[in-house]
Amino acid sequence: MFRIISRETLATKVHLFDIEAPAVARKALAGQFIVIRIDERGERIPLTIADWDDRKGTVTIVFMEVGATTARLASLQAGDSIADFVGPLGIPAHVEKFGTVVCVAGGVGAAPIAPIARALKEKGNRILSILGARSKDLLFWEDRLRSVSERLIVTTDDGSYGRKGVVTEPLKELLESGEKVDRVVAIGPSIMMKFCAQTTKPYGVKTIVSLNAIMVDGTGMCGCCRVSVGGQTRFSCVDGPDFDGHEVDWDLLLARQRIYCDEEKCALEHWQARTGKGALTEA
């Protein structure tokens, strides 16, 4: 069993858990993920590692309540345990000195991008960051990103905080401004990563995305997380999760992510009925 050492709500329906998993904490690197299973009835879901502390033996995960598993997870308290916590999985983010790297985070993508931006900064890269969300109450870790960035632009779709609009607008402006950008790292909802990749493509700037495909085992055994990259079938879990955004077949990924929408709803309602838990917990 893996104990939840502490928990915190970062934004509306977005939660942070520090989980006791010393062996995982010892090996974790930016860009990797873990697979969790809450209990005997639970499904296995992947979550990107948001941080880790080798000394304390903890791994930090950040997740948004979107379906049955994340709602069940959100109902747990510090001191509770989850049955399974496997990792660190996937190939770590490629970190070396590229020059100037633009880190673009959308929504919950702020969590996985933070350690990557930090690692890139430690390698001597100049970091420019763009952090976007639908509205102010969904933004978090502005401070974390700011601390490793030379410049940080914040956007909200509704204009409730920072600049009104979506992340691709300042991204395009940066590329237009004559600023020499050597690499873009974009992490967030698939649709946001798709448009970031589309934005950078005409400028020929390498754009790395972290794909959040549905997984079961997370170790290359089932092939559920397969994606098409450069016309080849690849497994997000063992070949990724990072891929060249210009090569990803985004429409296929988006379609595969929608496969279980109805079942997600059914599982959530079933859990709510079984446990008497109400609607998703509010921030």
Binding site: R41, D84, T219, V238
Partner: protein, 467 residues
Amino acid sequence: MAKLNLNREPMAKQDPGTRGKNFDEVALGYSGEQAVAEAGRCIQCPKQPCIDGCPVGIDIPGFVKAVVDDDMPEAVRILKDKNSLPGICGRVCPQEVQCEQVCTLAKKEAPIAIGRLERYVADWEIAHPEAINREEQRVSSNGRRVAVVGSGPAGLTCAADLAKMGYGVVMFEALHVAGGVLVYGIPEFRLPKSIVQGEVDYVESLGVELRLNHVIGKIATVDELLRDGFDAVFLAPGAGAPMFLDIPGENLGGVYSANEFLTRTNLMKAYLFPEYDTPIQVGKRVAVFGAGNVAMDASRCALRLGAEEVYIIYRRSQTEMPARLEERENAEEEGVIFRLLTNPSRLIGDEQGLVKAMELYEMELGEPDASGRRRPIRRPDTEFVMEIDTAIPALGTRPNPIIPSTTEGLELTRWGTIVTDEETGMTSKERVWCGGDMATGAATVISAMGAARRAAISIDGFLKDGG
């Protein structure tokens, strides 16, 4: 010479109409009377060809005689002396091409039903846990430690053998439960999970320490295991990575690798959704590509999950099918439809990206190919389209890349398997042995166990020799 009894004792099965709707075990096993009657047919011939026919060399005449003598603890002891997993082997071994094929009575087409007797003895032990004194089996530790990577048939066998020799064994498993393909792949109705758990419990009772949720190559590399106090490493991670069709549409929604389909169903219990959280989608018409045991398992799971029509699509003919006859017959009895000499050319999706049809074409058989089987050849202008809701490629697996890509100095074959000495299981890397599908490519449970046994002997020899 006493008169030969050529009446092989049949084993009861659940009725096809009933069993096609449940996940309970299909084959019901022998009663005590049946077991004694079947065992009594053994003529205890002096040549004992069955022992050579067994990849792990079980003293088959010995345990069969113990059944006749009603000395069940002795039957268990003899079985477990060579096979730590008899409940599993009694159910899934292809006895018809091993021990039973060479049985002296096979010449009269009535070989002793060795597999069924093995199962009977194993199930008796599970039902009588008090009959065997576990503590007596514990050997004093010799102070040496071996890491076993994977807890499938090879891992369990090697771990048990080494523990019995006095080694301190830690067995690492990537998933949240031990058993490997025995729990994620083979369905409940063919191999109940409680049987696998019983065998895992037995291996743990020998002193083996099981660490779940440990993906070796990630949480620790093979080199780190060797550095951190293990004297040797036995690699048995399986050949887990599924192969796809390499045709347009293979990534549509509703297209599952057999591994994924079976993992969701068996390991994650998707058949109990939404009581269990993992979903699975099975439409009315399901196509399974391939005709091995895994294809039979997937097709029979699809029926039980509510499919109305399940097709096995296979490019060769009945004679070349790799599945065991018993599994083929079970599938047929339950209503699986076989479309032989047929191959898919593409899968067609709807506007949501879900599979809705497949295009097939007909094949004919030409000259034998490298595998000795007649080569299937495409018949021109035979394309036709069939509507389906679910497609399941069951085309075999390739080696998983995690261990090869994280271990220095492991020589690989061009198929990505680890170069392994067949006799000893040694790899090109010092102190590292390998067995099971990772060494041979996809094969049977018992051949993996045989390789694991040989590796355990080799590891013991190496370490005793001052290694």
